[in-house]
């Protein structure tokens, strides 16, 4: 299905924010598959960063030829998008104190999540290597703490350092970011016995649960089981994911 581009702006070096028309209403944590054109074959998965009355936003970092092609797409061009796909974040009314933790290009789905959370006390910890982004947008929905590895913005260090200061308040943790960060968040959630959901990434083929290429190792009664990131995930309970 063709979708018209509303905007596609570089918000910091190599990171783009793209908005396009999209009918189907997504849940936070879900993703779309985008045909990036050029000489790419498979569609690429991108988390939904925002959704507002028929307009969807995704944010992406230029990594290979697919995302490079996307960055050249102009307003009013049309792209082929399917979705929304996957099982997103579960939102629980019973929890008042939420801790949202994200890193780098993993933060986009957490913006849509933060917007949908109705809880009173929302703490958001965002970690970056250097240049921070989306901070103002996140600040609309909660109390934001920023860490950078080089200390160029906020606290110098990692999200896990910042988490320790507010972890005791949290009823649930939501996380998305690079694998080592997710693993660290999982460890902290287990240490403090706080339920935790994380969004994981894996290379995908079909994006809808048919091809079994997007395997995520999870704990099972009789050892382990490969679940599908595109359908069972991308959001899993941290305690079931085996890194």
């Amino acid at each position: 299905m063709k979708h018209t581009i509303i905007r596609n702006d570089e918000i910091k070096s190599g990171v783009f924010r793209m908005e396009f028309h999209f009918e189907d209403i997504p849940m936070p944590g879900q993703f779309v598959m985008i045909d990036c054109g050029g000489r790419t074959l498979l569609k690429r998965p991108f988390s939904i960063c925002d959704y507002n009355e028929g307009k969807m936003t995704v944010m992406y970092q230029v990594r290979g030829k697919g995302t490079y092609n996307l960055s050249k797409i102009k307003v009013n061009d049309e792209i082929d998008v399917t979705g929304p796909h996957g099982h997103g974040f579960d939102i629980f009314d019973k929890f008042n104190n939420i801790l949202v933790v994200g890193g780098g290009i993993g933060i986009p789905p957490l913006l849509f999540l933060s917007k949908k959370l109705k809880s009173k006390n929302i703490n958001i910890v965002l970690g970056f290597r250097s240049d921070a982004f989306l901070i103002d947008e996140f600040s609309k929905y909660g109390n934001v703490l920023v860490t950078t590895e080089d200390g160029s913005y906020g606290m110098k260090g990692y999200v896990t350092d910042a988490m320790k200061e507010i972890i005791n308040e949290a009823d649930i943790i939501y996380g998305c970011g690079p694998k080592p960060m997710l693993n660290a968040i999982k460890d902290i959630s287990e240490k403090y016995k706080i339920p935790c959901q994380i969004s994981v990434e894996e290379r995908m083929g079909c994006g809808i649960g048919a091809c079994m290429t997007c395997a995520c190792k999870t704990l099972a009664e009789d050892g382990y089981h490969y679940k599908k990131v595109c359908k069972d995930g991308p959001v899993f309970w941290a305690k079931e994911v085996v890194f």
Binding site: L41, L42, T82, R203, G205, G209, C211, M212, T213
Partner: protein
Amino acid sequence: MRLKVNIGNLEFKNPVFVASGTFGFGKEYSQYVDLNKLGAIMVKGLTLNPKEGNPPPRIYETPSGILNSVGLQNPGVDGFLKDELPFLKKFDTKIIVNIAGETIEEFVTMAQKLDIDGVHALELNVSCPNVKEGGMAFGVNPNSIYEITKRVKYVTDKTVIVKLTPNVADIKIYAKAAEDGGADAVSLINTITGMVVDINSKRPIFKNIFAGLSGPAVKPIALKHVYEAKKAVSIPVIGMGGISSAEDAIEFMIVGATAVAIGTYNFINPTCTMDILEGIKKYMNENNVSDINQIINSINV
């Protein structure tokens, strides 16, 4: 316009099938495609017991193709019968069950378990490059192909299709071995073995080092194998490998395929099978072909 084709004791409403492992057990794609309109569904390869498959990464894009190393993750025959077949039975299409035994005995046991209503044909997968036991190890040995086919034919009246690997020097010998074993048809090609290396770590991307190449990149190779296989046997050939359009499908039929299967391209365009079916009809109309069987094996060399 007649689109029906016959393979073994079965009549298919049209020659457009979906290839094993790319279409799951039909459920996911049923939101995009009316499954009743497919000639047949070749389901994900089954093993006797459930199988977890290979560690990720399992897929990598190459120019016009993909490498996969799924390693036959599947719920096992019993899981299929319990959780997947009831859904598939609701549709007016043919169900071809792809089975991959680790031993000849496992092929026989699976064939016996699948000798029930709702299963129309068996596709013997002696060509999976991504598993250590069975798979391609059988498919590169004509004696194994012959033996497995014969033993399975002995225990079932279902139509038996043997899926061949292209990773051999002369496909004709392998197609003939299947025919001699009593196969009702051969299907080809399974994926072509390949590899890819991460130049920073100097490690292979895939844990098994090798993976299977599919998609548009393999089409000319697949077409050649189908052409050669058809010359070697008198049983029907089901052609697959890189099909992305009606033109591709018609090419396969011209070189001898009675039916075609679409695999990787379902990922790229989930409704491609319907486009391909329409395109075949259009071609028939434009070329005054009243019966699709007139196209099959019509190559002028």
